[in-house]
Amino acid sequence: MHLDKKERSLLGFSAILLGFLFVLLIKAQGAAGSQMTVQETAIPSLIKTEQENQQLSIENSKIEQELVKYHQGQSASVLLNQQVKEAMMNAGLIEVTGPGVQITLDDSTRVATGEEDPNNYFIHEEYIREILNALWNGGAEAIAVNGQRVTTLTEVFCGGSFIQINGTRQMPPYVIGAIGDSHNLSAALKFYGYSWDRLGEFQEQYGITRKLEVLEDIKTPAGKLRNYHYAEPVKEGT
């Protein structure tokens, strides 16, 4: 193709214009996109700070109250004992009772035949973990599995034929007792316990047990305090 000078310059000019336009377009697109992410990260940090503020003001007023009590000349040991009791309650070291839900899970009485996956006939530790997570989300106040109180450091680990909880061997049936609003607890279980639905299917197909009962009186025994070897409390004011 032969182009004379005029045509060539025209073509060059339009190519430059086109390139320029594209750059503008991309820049505009980028600006619109990046703005969103900045905003999205601001929200979590805002929620976090707000929550911290709330917690700090609660803590501050608690200390203020305590200081007032000291000034009024209340017995120090009584005060401290109160705090110890409260902390024990929070940490799950006190046996409590109350209304809530009880979940029973058991392996199937049948045995896998032929090509079937034998895993579908057993209760696995991840079901229990998911159920516990859902129950806490539903506002559970205290939970115990087979009489083992679930505390901050409780593990639910598969050890082969048994499930290790709080360092003890637990065999099926697994009975999970949770104290709290039974309506909220059941709702959370159905919403967040993905395994809950799956377990329902397994119950029909393979004969495992999945039972949910609303009880007026559930007991969760006291957990144990453990010794700390590595973690040290951070000194106030550092």
Partner: protein, 236 residues
């Protein structure tokens, strides 16, 4: 214009039309974008104002907390509180998570923003990893600054926001997920790298585990007991 070739007339016309169309589109977009930028900037400044406000409040509260804690310590000393009982209280508070702790441990960074990763990190996988850490004897655990306590639930809100202790933990700078655990470094490292670290790496994520001396923040939520009652025998 007689020098123009007939064959060139059609393509040139087409290009001219396309160019005109593009220019018009560009003008339109530019208008929209600048309007959107304005709104967005406005929102950002409002958001920043709220955030700065609450951060200032936070600093004030922390200052006050420090001052009060010092006074409390002093008052306790004056009335002669049993030091052993105080130690016991501190230990209990480490267990319920309301005490900030420090000590040797490991820091696990997980990055799932990778082309090889088909699905981002599941909440179940976080749960499993925390469980592994507990099994390995971790004494305190946190993920992205949220202390893990007994009643911690890790759930998905919407399609991609992970809530821990009801607080979103998503972050943009650095690795998306950072788990801190205090305990025996060798055991923790061993368990995590053998169990979960391997699984996540197989899924294409970047997992790095480092020995570190860590500080793990306190649990900022609150414990409420509405339904649970202590037994009368233990109430005394």
């Amino acid at each position: 214009m007689h020098r123009w070739k007939r064959t060139l007339a059609l393509p040139v016309t087409m290009v001219a039309i396309a160019l005109g169309f593009l220019i018009a589109l560009q003008a339109q977009t530019q208008k929209n974008v600048s309007a959107a930028e304005q709104i967005s900037a406005q929102r950002m400044s409002q958001m920043k104002a709220v955030l700065t406000n609450s951060q200032e409040q936070n600093a004030q509260l922390q200052e006050r907390h420090k001052e009060l804690s010092e006074r409390l310590d002093l008052a306790r000393k004056q009335v002669g509180t049993d030091p052993q009982l105080l130690v016991h209280l501190k230990q209990l508070k480490m267990l319920d998570g309301t005490q900030e702790v420090e000590g040797p441990g490991i820091l696990i960074s997980i990055d799932d923003r990778n082309k090889k990763v088909t699905f981002p990190l599941y909440t179940d996988e976080i749960l499993r990893m925390i469980n592994t850490l507990k099994l390995a004897g971790a004494e305190a655990i946190s993920i992205n600054g949220q202390r893990i306590v007994g009643s911690t639930a890790i759930v998905l809100s919407g399609s991609s926001t992970i809530l821990v202790n009801q607080v979103p933990i998503n972050r943009t700078e650095g690795s998306p997920y950072e788990l801190s655990a205090i305990g025996d470094q060798d055991t923790l490292l061993d368990y995590v790298s053998q169990l979960d670290g391997k699984t996540l790496k197989d899924r294409g994520m970047t997992v790095s585990i480092a020995r570190k001396t860590l500080r793990i923040p306190s649990y900022k939520g609150s414990y409420t007991f509405k339904e649970a009652k202590t037994l009368p025998a233990q109430g005394a």
